[in-house]
Subunit: 176 residues, 2 copies
């Protein structure tokens, strides 16, 4: 969910991964191919349009192309939105794990207000509407079925990263 | 989700609550009224039928009746399944908080196999099908928007309860 810190954690996992792929970047690339200028405001809507027009796992299939091109063995994918996408990844690797980063809505709202990007919600009502829109593709089900749930409520960044890497190491050993 | 330990935590919160209401119990009461015998296997299907036939917030409204009858001030509701239900509770109290208990699918599966109730899934495929069915009403969105996320991966029961009560106390102070 927006403001949970998932991209921070994803980037912090680079020591474990051959490649880190942001699904948002793939959406941005598609927009450039079509000559569409996206703001962060319209990114989510364009991502939904892509999934509707080209299949619910379209962005996942683009990620898989990149993984194959890079011949990567350990991959972090940032921004999975639905169980269809998880399924696409599981088809190419039985060792696909969902890592969810959770923060309460109140904490995420406070962070987004502090971050203050032009596209970030300014009011609680706007934030709630965006959350509902984020959940439309089935992100909630992905979170509910996470193999690892990291709670990022009031951790300093260093501690969050240490905690995340410890948990990931445990996951790698446990599922080996 | 089944096997996460949510009902254990709900019962453990009795020191904070005037009343603990299980939404599953309300479904069972409705079945008795209709003279239907439910197994745990058919409980979920009957709950879905009730929500389809009598409105997505029907069970929530029954819960609210009980809260009003008991004139309860602090209430724990176990088994919320959708944001429509959360909305119904928020309409009667602005101080409605979602507490989610998360365990990984693998941990929940192991617990359910160990528990071994007749109605519990026996195979991984059956477990996965049930999970997907549980998520159909929108439970994932409720979990994604939890005010408190408790991770119950490998905590002994005592520690889980201590942890849950500490977090709930913090929540009560924080949101006061």
């Amino acid at each position: 969910m927006p403001g949970s810190g998932k991209s921070v954690v994803a980037r912090g996992l680079k020591e474990f991964a051959d490649i880190i792929i942001s699904m948002g970047d793939i959406v941005r690339e598609e927009a450039i191919k079509k000559g569409i200028k996206l703001s962060s405001n319209t990114l989510m809507e364009f991502a939904k349009l892509l999934r509707r027009e080209r299949g619910s796992d379209f962005i996942a299939r683009e990620v898989i192309k990149k993984i194959k091109e890079a011949n990567a063995k350990v991959v972090v994918v940032d921004g999975v939105r639905s169980l269809e996408e998880v399924k696409a990844f599981k088809e190419i690797s039985g060792r696909t794990y969902i890592v969810a980063i959770h923060s309460s809505p109140r904490t995420r709202f406070n962070r987004l207000v502090l971050r203050g990007r032009e596209s970030d919600p300014k009011t609680w009502d706007e934030f709630v509407r965006r959350d509902i829109s984020e959940l439309e593709l089935g992100l909630g089900s992905v979170i509910a079925l996470a193999d690892i749930m990291i709670v990022n409520e009031d951790l300093p960044l260093d501690d969050l990263m240490k905690f995340a890497s410890t948990i990931i190491k445990k996951l790698m050993i446990r599922f080996d």
